[in-house]
């Protein structure tokens, strides 16, 4: 099990040509902007998807690559969104500065959360992060004078190059692409990433060969928080404000769903999961309001029958197909 997982990590995803991927994706983003610059609905849909992808990818750094199940990322997402909104509305900073401050503050929060929660592992860790996320949510909700309570913060004004919807779209897309490539390059395909996976598979051995297990876990929590903060800030830009539901448990649940359904042991899993979630959300909300019922049922089915996610499932299917046709080379 372990060995195959490692082998496939090496083979899957972007490979090693990061700059090529970066370039290709950015060109694709510019093309998309050019194509849809007048269609606000499509722009906002893709924007939302991009933010979700970043959120899920950042999240899966913990769940998939370090084996830490956090239920607290909604809180971090909320901190990112509120930092940006507060800085822009109350301090009148420009979007770019606010966008830089948000992940810093979020990673500091993640550090604090990690410092406390990583005292325990497994289920305890999951519940503790949930508790802290609830605490963040409660503070945002009750601290009316700063955060506006359940009215949220509205009135983010954009000017200059990102004043138009197409400009904002391009900014969000490019930030997401750069972040995703950075995550893949620095945190997954690196020595750091391999150490994380070793800790996930066998923490005792990791400790025995001299890896500072808790230090690494704390670091990945911060990194994950950093990118979650960016996702939250971008989401605030996308929706023009920050609201208390951005820090809710439901928000924590979204990246978990994406990662698990897509496949937690792959880099593309959360991305596929994010696309699937948004697609299903838009599709299902046409018929019924019980999105959670459906999402929960899918989650249970995936846990029982395809715990490695649909990306892995598709991979197996595709292999079998090529074997049957007799093309061993592609299988």
């Amino acid at each position: 099990m372990t060995e195959t997982r490692f082998r496939e990590h090496m083979a899957s995803g972007m490979g090693r040509s990061y700059s090529l991927w970066l370039l290709a994706l950015i060109i694709a983003a510019i093309l998309l902007t050019y194509l849809f610059h007048s269609n606000i609905f499509v722009l906002s849909l893709i924007q939302e998807l991009a933010v979700m992808i970043l959120f899920a990818t950042a999240y899966n750094l913990m769940l998939g690559f370090s084996g830490l199940l956090s239920f607290g990322h909604g809180g971090l997402f909320g901190i990112g969104a509120y930092t940006l909104a507060l800085l822009m509305v109350k301090v009148k900073l420009s979007a770019l500065w606010a966008l830089m401050a948000a992940p810093l503050l979020t990673s500091i929060a993640a550090w604090g959360m990690g410092w406390l929660c990583l005292r325990l592992t497994g289920v305890y860790f999951a519940f503790l992060t949930l508790a802290f996320s609830q605490l963040i949510w409660a503070v945002i909700w009750k601290w009316r004078s700063l955060t506006g309570g359940d009215d949220g913060i509205i009135g983010i004004e954009l000017s200059g190059a990102i004043g138009s919807s197409a400009g904002l779209f391009l900014l969000i897309l490019i930030v997401v692409i750069v972040c995703a490539v950075l995550i893949k390059m620095l945190l997954i395909d690196s020595q750091f990433g391999f150490a994380l996976r070793l800790i996930r598979e066998n923490p005792r051995r990791a400790r025995a060969i001299g890896i500072n297990v808790r230090g690494y876990q704390l670091l990945v929590f911060c990194a994950s928080g950093f990118f979650t903060g960016i996702a939250g800030a971008l989401y605030a830009l996308h929706s023009g404000g920050a609201f208390v539901e951005y820090a809710s448990v439901a928000k924590s649940f979204e990246p978990i769903w994406c990662s698990l359904v897509g496949g937690i042991y792959t880099f593309v899993g959360p991305i596929v999961g994010a696309a699937l979630m948004l697609g299903l959300d838009h599709f299902i909300s046409r018929f019924t309001e019980s999105w959670a019922l459906f999402a929960g049922a899918v989650l249970i089915i995936v846990v029982l029958f395809a715990p490695e996610g649909i990306v892995r499932l598709a991979e197996c299917f595709y292999r079998r197909l090529f074997r049957r046709v007799g093309v061993e080379k592609w299988a």
């Binding site: 005292r119 497994g122 289920v123 929960g296 846990v303």
Partner: protein, 272 residues
């Protein structure tokens, strides 16, 4: 004291099955709703007995159909499975009982107040405390003084050896999960007397229960008794002093316990 019923079920299930049941708050909520519906159809006392039993039966079905399949997988999957249950149960409750608050009319016997030490205490409060105290005593007696309790403790300590000695541990697991859910349902039924029932309280509840269990020590019934007493008192104190941030007191306490004794006041250290 009502919290004890919730926390002890969570702690019991964790202690024996090794699974933290995220859906525990949902079972509690369902218990409250069942009690509400049954009380409309039949006499209150009957509803009060039947509702927790129904929740226990629901728990047994859940264990047989779903939970049993993931004992062998990683903890992450067990937790995610019960999280899926939270979502499903939560939405089903909203579909069946709606989103507005529901209040259960008190039976006439409990509607009065009693004079005790110069202050008036509503009889419901006394009743709720009594129920919890009786259940606590029963649980401790059954777990530590009877053969069934010995079997449960054996299955918790070492399932392999226990099953080698001829005990069907799977049945023990199912039964314990059922009892845990029954406790949650009973807690819900009692809470239906004390306060209005509202959808969406399931997560809050399981969090509070978890805080209690962390403070008291996972898997220890006495620990969850002590934990719920401390938590209840502290929360009441918090409401007296700073009502808006009463919950913050609990967090501070939990953080304190975690720093000093990560395995809880009466628990045993975690072995990894």
């Amino acid at each position: 004291m009502n919290l004890f019923l919730l926390a002890s079920g969570l702690s019991l299930i964790y202690g024996v099955l090794g699974v933290v049941n995220f859906a525990h708050g949902s079972f509690y909520l369902i218990g409250a709703y069942f009690c509400y519906t049954c009380a409309k159809l039949c006499p209150f006392w009957f509803a009060f007995v039947i509702a927790p039993l129904a929740v226990g039966a629901l728990g047994i079905i859940t264990e047989l159909c779903l939970l049993r399949k993931v004992y062998q997988s990683e903890h992450i999957y067990q937790l995610l499975l019960t999280w899926g249950l939270v979502l499903v149960f939560g939405d089903l409750c909203k579909l069946v009982w709606g989103v507005d608050k529901k209040t259960l009319g008190l039976p006439t016997v409990l509607a009065e107040a009693m004079r005790l030490f110069g202050t008036k205490i509503p009889l419901v409060q006394i009743f709720a405390t009594l129920v919890a105290a009786i259940v606590a005593a029963l649980l401790i007696i059954v777990l530590y003084k009877t053969r069934i309790g010995a079997l449960i403790r054996a299955a918790a300590a070492d399932p392999e050896v226990t099953s080698a000695l001829g005990v069907d541990t799977r049945k023990v697991y199912t039964a314990v999960f059922g009892v845990g859910c029954w406790l949650a349902g009973l807690g819900g039924a009692v809470s239906a007397l004390l306060m209005p029932i509202y959808a969406g309280s399931d997560l809050e509840l399981v969090l509070v229960a978890f805080i209690i269990v962390v403070i008291g020590g996972m898997g220890s019934i006495i620990g969850s008794l002590v934990g719920s007493l401390i938590t209840g008192l502290l929360y009441a104190l918090g409401i007296l002093l700073v009502p808006r941030f009463a919950l913050a007191f609990l967090y501070v306490l939990m953080v304190g316990v975690l720093i000093i004794r990560p395995w809880g006041l009466l628990g045993r250290p975690q072995i990894d």
